[in-house]
Symmetry: C2
Subunit: 504 residues, 2 copies
């Protein structure tokens, strides 16, 4: 049965028409309601009588207040919804909406690589990091040679990855904002999939000293300017010989059964369409709740997309300290945008409105939907590492490649990427499960999409079914039993640092 | 005879020790002076008694003031030199130092690819540009497939290059500073080596519309979200089929004899040592003068490295308009640095300091040496294209990869990169002639360095001999007759945009 409308949460008093031709007058929908008038595709229909000044609830969230009374079954036009005032971050008080205990989820496991620091890898990867962009050409050469000549000898090692970036010199390395790229590089090198077996390439005269980037003992450091390297081949041989030591050790890593609580899943969307907030993101949100109930960790991000729902997010913070940290990150980002002459831009766009989005709060709620419903236990500054299990907000830009890089630095071992229009996203360091928000894309990009959440819109599957499917898919991919589309095709994004400081 | 110290100008009161073991206590040097203490290689020795607050003079320029008295023959440590105050750009008046006519240089030619717009290519390259970072994984895949399957069929095409970047979406595309990355991307696609045969990959929902990036007729535009692409392989096949059309046309390009006036040579240094300003840069400067005398174009850049020599540069501007433009670019950059909490003290690097460079003024004078002595006929804003033949200042950051990318966007068809400590620099789009400033590096990196300017320090060759050698090497490499070290090894930098605006 094809669905006619979608209600995201049982607490919602509006639903969205998804029948391609819209509802006709008198049509029975949502089981037993009757459309009082024609209501076009993508628009809101009232599921209950809503009186003037009553809250309009979607995503279990007040997205605005009715400026006129609307009867059950009629079209709740966007004009009928008073937009709540823009949140002034410093005025938002912490008030927790609910404190209900969620049912724990036991018995779910995956096969991962347990590290000595307690983190768990989902791939077994030799990482080659760098202290300065100048060495990136050499890293590229070395990575390609290791792939060709060495990897076949180490069957338990999945890949070799150059953690390329454009930092390290020719940048204002001591300005306040420089902490972000510096800690990002450091934390990327400590990613659980690299097993603390990291090779660091430096040049020898860079500003960013490689020693600042590494902790622990299991790393090698090679400077290209090392006077012992007589020419390029000697340099490459020197690097390869260090790499071999790490490959030997990595090759002895074995997957062991780990509880789902060792998952650290980063949620992100990109190339969104109007269905992203209806199908893909809510399905991801359902899976996010399952992961958190299983004791695991979920990240959501994209400050510029969610900061207009600051009030709603503050209500979901576990305590006042977290709420303050969240608002401080929003305020920092707002200042950063304003300093560059930018602002929150004209959100929502005319296209969004035609697509049924009433205001910035509703748009933000569509983005937040992928975080599920659990409390936000911590806020992670860009480039920092996760400290607490549960749902974390990682304060990153919305820019896809930057968000992914910062979620990696925070310790994500699985990534979920939801797309509606289609983005051929992929990461080298962790498996990326790509979810389409509509079946047209899911079918057309059959070899690029891992799960089609558009099946929710066509009524083929429920949100619960798809959410569980995504959760199982995450466990399978984390165990190396299921190869995600991006890994089958070898599609990889560049890592892209967030550097709000000037270059020099 | 091997020199013991080098004094650049007869007005200087310090010299640099270039005797490999340094001066020993009591050693007679510079004819008749006596070393009062051991002074290491690369460090400064006082040629006169210098009292506290006296100017320290090098390159016939005050590079700072002594913060203690130093006797003739002693080691003038960098700590003893107070950095002079930053020049106040708005106070510098235009005053032209000289207007002497230079002797024209006729009869020098190279074999290049002449384009319909009058520019000349030095390589024959298929360029694949992009409107948004999201497509970069696909470009990487396609480039590798074209290299493997198609290039062998088109023997006159040298290479295929993906013009990868991290712009196009998730960026504040309408802020004032956004003009820089946008025009850079557009002008890179118009690079003379691409022969106006450019393939543009877009996603389909990006902010930066591909149509804004291309001019003329000879381009193809492919959107990955094109509904005709059923899956990844269809997408790749679609791109390859468009690429084939361009390869066919590029394969018919032929080199023709071009005057040296068609050269557009970008000068840059990176990983500098104290000899960069003594050997490598002055040799590059000599070649720069030859190119300008032959009617060609030379770029020098690196605002942060040269702006402390603003007074000296203004004197070299061809007219007051150029001088004003130069100072406006410097002021813009200073504001940009200050807005991010940075200042000019981010330069020199720790490596520079160990190499004996005291401060940014001394570094600036050494950096400027590579521009030769001819008048600055124009100043090119970052991302803009060259308009005038002769010596141009291209206002770029000093960051090596960014400077190279912006010089490419400005239309550079040959690159000279001078290094002292050693940087394995290389570009895909144009040949890079790498010059070492000392013979130790020149010998050790025998397969990475194309010309050893350190031969000047050992007395083996004069600056004139080496300058002519570099000029001839540029003509040979521009003609495709001489393969530079970076091309032999396949060493390539990433292109890196200068984006002073915020990301979102």
């Amino acid at each position: 049965m094809v669905s006619d409308v979608i209600r995201v949460s049982s607490a919602d008093n509006v639903a969205i028409v998804i029948k391609p031709d819209g509802l006709f007058e008198g049509e029975i929908f949502f089981g037993s309601l009757k459309a009082a008038e024609p209501i076009p595709f993508g628009q809101k229909v009232a599921l209950q009588n809503i009186s003037i000044n009553d809250p309009v609830v979607r995503y279990n969230t007040v997205i605005g207040y009715a400026n006129q009374s609307v009867s059950k079954g009629t079209w709740l036009k966007n004009d009928y919804i008073k937009t709540p005032p823009s949140p002034e971050f410093f005025r938002i008080d912490f008030s927790k909406s609910t404190d209900e205990e969620v049912e724990k989820l036991d018995g779910y496991t995956f096969e991962g690589y347990r590290n000595s620091d307690g983190t768990v890898g989902t791939k077994n990867v030799l990482g080659i990091t760098m202290s300065v962009q100048c060495v990136s050409g050499v890293i590229e050469h070395v990575v390609s040679r290791i792939k060709k000549d060495l990897l076949p000898k180490y069957p338990n090692v999945d890949d070799v990855v150059g953690l390329n970036h454009h930092y390290g010199c020719g940048v204002a390395i001591d300005v306040p904002a420089a902490v972000i790229p510096k800690r990002t590089i450091r934390n990327l090198a400590q990613h659980p999939n690299l097993g603390n077996e990291v090779l660091v390439l430096g040049l020898g005269c860079e500003k960013l000293r490689p020693e600042l980037l590494i902790d622990g003992d299991n790393y090698s450091l090679v400077y290209l300017q090392d006077p012992r390297f007589e020419g390029f081949q000697a340099m490459v041989d020197g690097i390869i010989s260090k790499a071999t030591v790490h490959l030997e050790r990595l090759n002895r890593r074995r997957r062991v059964t780990c509880p789902a609580s060792d998952l650290v899943v980063g949620m992100q969307c990109g190339g969104s369409d109007i269905f992203s907030g209806l199908s893909g993101n809510p399905v991801a949100g359902f899976a996010a709740d399952l992961i958190v109930r299983a004791g695991g960790t979920v990240f959501f991000s994209e400050v510029t997309e969610v900061m207009d729902a600051a009030t709603q997010l503050v209500e979901r913070c576990a305590n006042e300290t977290v709420a303050k940290k969240l608002l401080e990150e929003f305020q920092w980002y707002q200042n950063y945008l304003e300093a560059g002459g930018g602002d929150r831009s004209d959100n929502p766009t005319p296209g969004n409105k035609r697509g049924g989005i009433a205001n910035v709060v509703e748009k933000a709620m569509g983005s937040i939907a992928k975080s599920g419903t659990q409390p936000i236990v911590d806020v992670i500054s860009p480039g920092d590492k996760v400290q607490m299990k549960g749902l974390n907000f990682v304060a990153t830009p919305a820019s896809d490649f930057v968000c992914g890089t910062l979620q990696l630095a925070a310790g994500m071992n699985m990534h979920v990427f939801i797309t509606g229009r289609g983005t051929p996203y992929g990461l080298s360091m962790v498996p990326v499960v790509k979810v389409s928000s509509n079946s047209e894309l899911g079918k057309r990009w059959f070899d690029l999409i891992d799960l089609d959440a558009g099946q929710l819109l066509t009524g083929q599957k429920t949100i619960e079914e798809l959410g569980w499917e995504l959760f199982q898919l995450i466990l399978e991919a984390a165990s190396g039993r299921k190869l995600v589309a991006a890994d089958k095709l070898g599609l990889r994004n560049d890592l892209v640092l967030f550097n709000p400081g000037p270059i020099t």
